[in-house]
Amino acid sequence: MANSHQLKRVDFIFRNENDWERVLSNTIKKKPQELINELISSELKGRGGAGFPTGLKWKLTSEAPDGQKYVICNADEGEPGTFKDREILSKVPYKVLTAMAVCGYVAGANQGYIYLRGEYKFLKPELEKAIDEFEYYCKEINLDFKITIFMGSGAYICGEETALMESMEGKRGEPRNKPPFPSQAGYLGKPTVINNVETLVHTFTIFKYGSKKFYDLGVQYSRGTKLFSVSGDTPKPGIYELELGMSLQDFVYEFGDGDTKAVQVGGASGFLVPRKKFKDAAIGFKGKLTGISLPTGGSMMLFNSSRSMFNVLDNYLEFFREESCGQCTPCRVGCQQLLLGIKAVKRGDKPASYLEKLLRLTETMQYTAKCGLGQSVANSFSSIVENFREEMIY
């Protein structure tokens, strides 16, 4: 456990700071390049799930030819087990708005959007009030930046950044071919920075306290803190800001109910880690961490021994079957086959060896699906089927 460490709670994100005005006006006194460097040296990676380096994202858009550009805050939090963005937007909206404006300043965009999932519509009135106040201040300091809320209408796939843009353009939320990436051609074909809500708040922290403070937290390849949405069989469900790099063992020690059988890390599209692998699993981004490092949008769902892993997988697959946009073959048909397939094995209509065929299918889905949804179904499927094979059959 050389690179992981004890669980450390941190309080940056929800720390009550009433100085966003000062943070904003001070930050935009610096040159965009300075701010990009600051972000790059913090090694902040996107907190939505994919983990793309945030500084690089801003840099690419800032380097795109001048003209209309956009900043989008992705608040289409739909991953099962994730609810952190809702909490951020209801508790510290100003940090998000400030970060968006700084991003606009850096990238050369004067229009920001918050794509808010339909399920969180109740947040809209308060958020609009905050935006009014925020824009008023922007005007005062002569910062040309507007923020508009765009409501989603119930589609998990719109959390995928290009699907989100399609949705904003009045279309079906179907992911696009990449390249081009949003930094080249995003919303309405214009260069666009799109960041997750939490990612933006971390940039606020970095701009306020400096990149070193952030970088010093966490471990190599996984710097800083992360919000974890903890749910399932736990005595203390909720949202926790923790330093990255902890071992899953420590996490379960803190949040488990004493009978934790497995933890689903990263939501339905993440991995299921069984008890025997807790001590080898470090929570962070892919990199050269020892043991298993896991992609993380921050969803941590705990399951105790009363839970059937078959039921869990069945639930995930039904979710994916419905929430796939349906355009690409491996995802649309693959999800249906996986769901029907495990049911058939469980019923005895298909032999246990059919699970191997399904595992190979998830590999194909991972290699060939058009976007992250179809690609990542393999994660939960293979980690559950491989670790709880017996439960799939009997």
Binding site: G81, G154, Y156
Partner: protein, 160 residues
């Protein structure tokens, strides 16, 4: 102009008539009418000068844009993993028993429609449901009966 036309014209005036306004306009109609009828989709297409098929194709992609008639209150019970683990089924039974409808149905008085939905983002307070835009969490059969009684009372429905 009939009320639907007026509503859609007003929404188009507010949000604009470019394609980017399609979702906000459809959401506006759903807010008022609770679903998108064939008629309102035709009017949206006309007002925005886009193909009606596009409106339909886009509307059916989004689970909160109903294209079939619904009740005044749409109950959406979360069925995703944590809610499923924490007693969503019992909650559903309680609702079905109380409203005397099955999943996907609308009460004869057109007040309530019962649907399931995917993760609402309240996993730490599961099970959860939405009634229109309002969230209810940590549901139990008793709690859900109480909530529904509230809605019924508000609408002057006798509970026998």
């Amino acid at each position: 102009m009939d009320p639907i036309q007026t509503l859609i014209k007003d929404l188009a005036n507010k949000h604009g008539r470019t394609k980017e306004s399609l979702l906000p306009i459809m959401q506006g109609v759903v807010e008022r009418e609770s679903y998108l009828s064939e008629r309102s989709m035709v009017e949206i297409a006309r007002e925005m000068d886009i193909p009606a098929a596009d409106v339909y194709g886009t509307a059916t992609f989004y689970s909160f844009l109903e294209t079939k008639p619904t009740g005044k209150y749409i109950i959406r019970v979360c069925k995703t993993i944590t809610c499923a683990m924490k007693g969503k089924t019992q909650v559903l039974f309680a609702i079905q028993e109380m409203l005397k409808i099955k999943m996907g149905e609308t009460t004869p008085d057109k007040r309530f429609t019962l649907l399931e939905t995917n993760c609402l983002g309240w996993c730490h307070k599961a099970p959860a449901m939405l009634i229109n835009d309002n969230v209810y969490t940590e549901l139990t059969p008793e709690k859900v009966r109480e909530i529904l009684s509230g809605y019924m009372k508000q609408n002057g429905i006798n509970q026998n």
